[in-house]
Symmetry: C2
Subunit: 121 residues, 2 copies
Amino acid sequence: MLMKKNEEFVQSVNPKGQKSCDSFHNTIEFIGKRWMGIIIYHLLDGPKRFFELSAEIDGISDRLLTERLRDLEAHGLVVKNQSDPKVRKVEYELTPKGKELEDIIQAIFEWVKKNGCCYEE
Amino acid sequence: MLMKKNEEFVQSVNPKGQKSCDSFHNTIEFIGKRWMGIIIYHLLDGPKRFFELSAEIDGISDRLLTERLRDLEAHGLVVKNQSDPKVRKVEYELTPKGKELEDIIQAIFEWVKKNGCCYEE
DNA sequence: TTTTTAAGATTACTATTAGTAAGCTTGTTT
DNA sequence: AAACAAGCTTACTAATAGTAATCTTAAAAA
C-alpha cells in the first residue's frame, strides 16, 4: 500500500500488534469531523466572513459553524482577522498549514470525478 | 482554488447563492465518518478479517467496526468474502472503487508529514 | 431620533451518533 | 465435555450534532 511509496511512513507495530499512527489517526479524525471538509473547501477560495460561509454552506447552523471555526483556529489551520474590533467585520482565512489541505480536498474531488457519489439518502 | 486546476469542477451557484456540490459533500461526509478513514487505511494492506481489523485499529469497538463495514459494503467500497459459510472466516476487501481512496489517504499522509499532527487531546 | 436590521456569536434543549459492555451462535481446541 | 474464538447483535450511557431562540452592538432606515 502507500507505505511502499513512502518509506518514511512505514508503521511500527506496538506490543498489542497495533500500528502506531496517532498523528495520522488524530488528523484524519479531526478533518473528518462533520462539516470540516466543506468549510475548508469553501475557505480555499480565499478569506471569507462568517455570514458568507453560513450562506454558502447549505445546511450548516451558526452553532456548528462557530464551533468548527474555533476548532480550526485552535489547531492553526485558520486565522480570524478582525482589523477593527469596533466594526463587526470578521474574516476567516486559511493559514499556510490550512492551505496545504487543498491536496486532500483535491484528492476527494478526483475520487468523486472518477467514481461518482458514494452516498445518497 | 482547485476549480482553476479542474475546469470540470467549476461549481454552479443555485438560487440561494450556494455552491451545488452534493456528491462532493455527500462523499466527504461519508468518508469523514468516525473511524472510516482508519478502516480504509488498514484495508489498503489487502483483505483482512474482522478480528484483524479489530486488533489493528486501536480503540474501535466491534459495534462500530461492524457498522462501518456495513456502510462500506452498502456503498460498494468493500466486499465481504466468506468462501465457506460453514467456516467462520470472513474477509473484507476493498473494491476497485474502494482502492482508489488510496490517493485521499495518501494526501492526508503527506499533509501530516509536512505539517505534523493537528490534533491532540 | 427612534426603530429596524444584520453580523457574529451564545445558550438551551432535543435528536442522533458513538462508546461500553455484555451476550449469542457455532465451530474448534483442550 | 468444557473452554475458547470469530463475528456479530443488543441494551444502555455518553458525547456530538441539529434546531431554535436570544444577545450585543453598529449601522441603515424611517
